[in-house]
């Protein structure tokens, strides 16, 4: 398949791996920020191709995983109401709240629907004027522009039966939170290519300078990731800390201007809780006050719901790269995809799900 197979070519991947091994003289620890990259690394076995001196640790970039349990409980409360059509991206449905998940609400008769585009929720609101349509707006800067477009369109159309439960989060504050945390071992970052396709990468210059870390904007295919690793190691080996763009076929320095403008019109930067991590200042997007009318938390009176997180789930440590999934005592025993303690075990981008699905044990599988 064009634009996929070229980036999964086994000869080229081996050449990159050899070059990385050739230039690596010391141990280095890199973090891939995005859960999509984590899954590609484990699914294709990219880490097995790297020299043992290089450790990849998995970052917080899975929007499903970092959505706090409190927001999930709010979603469950809203989705249970008979007048509501609750629209969500597919992989939020299995994420456990404090008691249950959206799939179970659906089984009990809740009208929970998977949408592929947030704009489908607006269409549903138009087609069902007697129902309340709520869109569960989750995701990083990747999905935020489409959410912003729903608000813009719904507002233009004067829709009164459409609202959003917003839990958008931002990548750069999460990177800073990782770097500022006690015992942080990360020496370089593979930044998430699709986030930068929207936002560009100017935000990373001050972070790279302040913390002296190379940050390489990286794609999601095996060759992208290996090239991203190579660019990080090249910088580390000669003591540089710059922002570079590996994913130049999709990313420009200033990103996608119309998308950013729309986001800025609809959202403001707010503090946000991250599951397992706690509140990170200025790390989320919330609706601007002029769009308060679209805020489902107020419309359905769930703003005050407060929930404590499971004490057994250690996904916070996984999300900060402090432990690997299999180092959690509950991994694969009390926590499985059927009975998850945390979202990292069920999200298609969750690190625990990747390890459970593709690897199970700390050592790579042998034939």
């Amino acid at each position: 398949m064009k634009f996929i197979d070229e980036y999964r070519d086994s000869t080229a991947t081996k050449r990159y791996a050899q070059e990385i091994a050739r230039i690596t003289t010391r141990p280095w620890t890199l973090m891939e920020v995005c859960g999509g990259q984590t899954h590609a690394i484990i699914k294709f076995g990219i880490d097995e191709l790297l020299p043992k001196k290089i450790e990849l640790i998995h970052g917080p970039g899975c929007p499903v995983c970092v959505t706090p349990v409190e927001i999930i409980d709010k979603a469950l409360e809203i989705a249970s109401r008979p007048e509501v059509i609750f629209c969500s991206f597919g992989d939020m449905l299995r994420v456990p709240g404090s008691q249950t998940d959206l799939l179970a609400v659906k089984a009990r008769g809740g009208d929970v629907r998977i949408v592929y585009s947030p704009l489908d929720a607006v269409k549903l609101a138009e087609a069902n004027p007697q129902r309340q349509v709520v869109f569960f707006a989750v995701g990083f800067e990747t999905t935020a522009p489409a959410t912003a477009m729903t608000v813009y369109q719904a507002s233009q159309k004067g829709l009164k039966n459409f609202s959003l439960l917003v839990s958008h989060v931002l990548v750069p504050p999460a990177i800073e939170a990782v770097l500022g945390s006690e015992g942080c071992r990360v020496q370089a970052f593979l930044a998430a290519g699709h986030v930068c396709a929207v936002m560009g990468y100017e935000e990373y210059f001050p972070i790279a300078a302040r913390y002296r870390v190379p940050i390489v904007v990286t794609g999601f295919e095996p060759l992208d990731i290996l090239q991203g690793v190579l660019m990080c190691i090249e910088q580390l080996e000669i003591g540089r800390a710059e922002v570079q763009n590996q994913y130049s076929r999709s990313v420009r320095q200033s990103g996608n201007r119309p998308a950013r403008e729309l986001m800025a019109r609809v959202f403001q930067v707010v503090p946000r809780k991250w599951r397992g991590v706690g509140e990170i200042p200025m790390s989320g997007l919330g609706l601007r006050h002029e769009y308060d009318g679209f805020d489902a938390e107020h419309r359905f009176g769930v703003a005050e719901i407060r929930v404590e997180e499971s004490s057994e789930c250690r996904s916070g440590l996984v999300l900060q790269g402090k432990i690997k999934p299999h180092e959690c005592p509950a991994f694969g025993t009390r926590c499985t995809p059927e009975h998850p303690l945390g979202a990292t075990m069920v999200s298609s981008e969750g690190a625990c799900a990747a390890y459970y699905r593709y690897r199970r044990s700390p050592k790579p599988v042998t034939s």
């Binding site: 991206f89 998977i114 593709y358």
Partner: protein, 352 residues
């Protein structure tokens, strides 16, 4: 095994785990297998051990017969490459074929929702007849029920099939041996993506049509040519991944497959990449996996490729030594090994 009278009345499922049936209990993944293993098999194990797999083979006088049943509830009723009627025939004759039986007769039960358009019903019934003719089976008995508007979903069809086993082989996961080759009869994942594209209104550049088809001819051909088939399984819900895990679990053997040899059509791969789905877990309705000795790979492929429905047959891997779970591994396109795990439930499209 307990008799029916001794069968415990308490529910074998810990109620706190799943107080209600979820869609995933019918998804062909781990939850469905739990339902079979914990509820249906213990409940229905009487004098004859029921087969949890495609069809049960049993002795009637001097004849070995195979029997299977399946219910078809797919939405939409008509999709590119078939409809509910052709599917209801293909699915059941394929289950018989997988037991190595030549399908003879089918029953057809219709549960029709009040208000279904007569023209739609006729289209579906006509497709059933065509599919039955092509597979060489007769539909000899049936049943019709009409339910109130809102109490059904247009039309549900159940078909039960009986076939005759005309060879001495024991075709089952227990016959699979370490060293056996694993073949697949064609490209995987097309039926599931065809249905999803129509159901969810996803428009791709080209129309993905279902692979729904009868597998009877290539299977009977393999048997007639005297190939030593150890096991066959059609790839339905849960796709290739589910089948490989079922066979590995039942035989306690390992299976390793090569990702680069597993055929997936470009449009199916593209749709799966966009939605974040794994084509190896997506349903097929006209594909099967065959387990047989390495020495017969070429002969089997030559026979399979004579038939249009299995023209894309390929050798994808081998059975390895007994192994603790997880037993199925895949060598990725870049050469690394990973687990190919049983899907947990329905695949859900990802966020980004």
């Amino acid at each position: 095994m307990e008799s029916a009278a001794q069968f415990t009345l308490s529910c074998p499922f810990p109620i706190q785990d799943y107080p209600q049936i979820l869609m995933a209990h019918g998804g062909g993944g781990r939850l469905m297998h739990q339902l079979l293993d914990n509820m249906f098999l213990p409940a229905f194990s009487g004098s004859t051990l029921p087969s949890p797999h495609d069809a049960s083979v049993f002795q009637a006088g001097n004849t070995r017969l195979a029997m299977t049943t399946d219910s078809y509830v797919v939405r939409p009723m008509c999709f590119p490459g078939g409809n509910l009627g052709s599917l209801a025939v293909h699915g059941t004759v394929n289950d018989l074929a997988m037991a190595g039986a030549r399908p003879l007769y089918l029953s057809a039960g219709f549960i029709i929702e009040e208000g279904l358009r007569m023209e739609t019903l006729w289209q579906i019934v006509s497709s059933m007849r065509e599919a039955a003719n092509a597979a060489g089976v007769s539909i000899i008995t049936g049943d019709t029920k009409v339910v109130d508007k809102g109490k059904g979903d247009g039309l549900f069809i159940n078909t039960t099939g009986v076939g005759i086993v005309e060879h001495p082989l024991s075709i089952s996961p227990q016959s699979v041996q370490a060293g056996d080759a694993v073949l697949v009869s064609g490209d995987v994942g097309r039926h599931g993506m065809a249905i999803m594209a129509v159901r969810e209104g996803l428009a791709f550049e080209s129309t993905i049509e279902s692979d729904s088809a009868s597998l009877v001819l290539p299977v009977l051909d393999l048997l007639r040519q005297g190939l030593e088939i150890h096991c066959m399984r059609d790839l339905t819900r849960g796709g290739l991944t589910s089948v490989l895990n079922e066979i590995a679990d039942a035989s306690q053997l390992g299976i390793s497959v090569e990702e680069k040899h597993i055929p997936v059509r470009g449009d199916v791969r593209a749709a799966c990449e966009i939605l974040g789905l794994d084509p190896l877990q997506v349903a097929c309705e006209g594909r099967f996996a065959v387990f047989l000795p390495q020495s017969q790979i070429e002969a089997a492929l030559e026979i399979l490729r004579r038939h249009q429905v299995s023209a894309g047959a390929t050798h994808i891997g081998k059975v390895t030594q007994p192994s603790p779970a997880p037993r199925v591994t895949l060598r990725s396109v870049i050469g690394a090994q990973r687990i190919l795990d049983m899907p947990s439930g329905e695949q859900l499209p990802r966020i980004c």
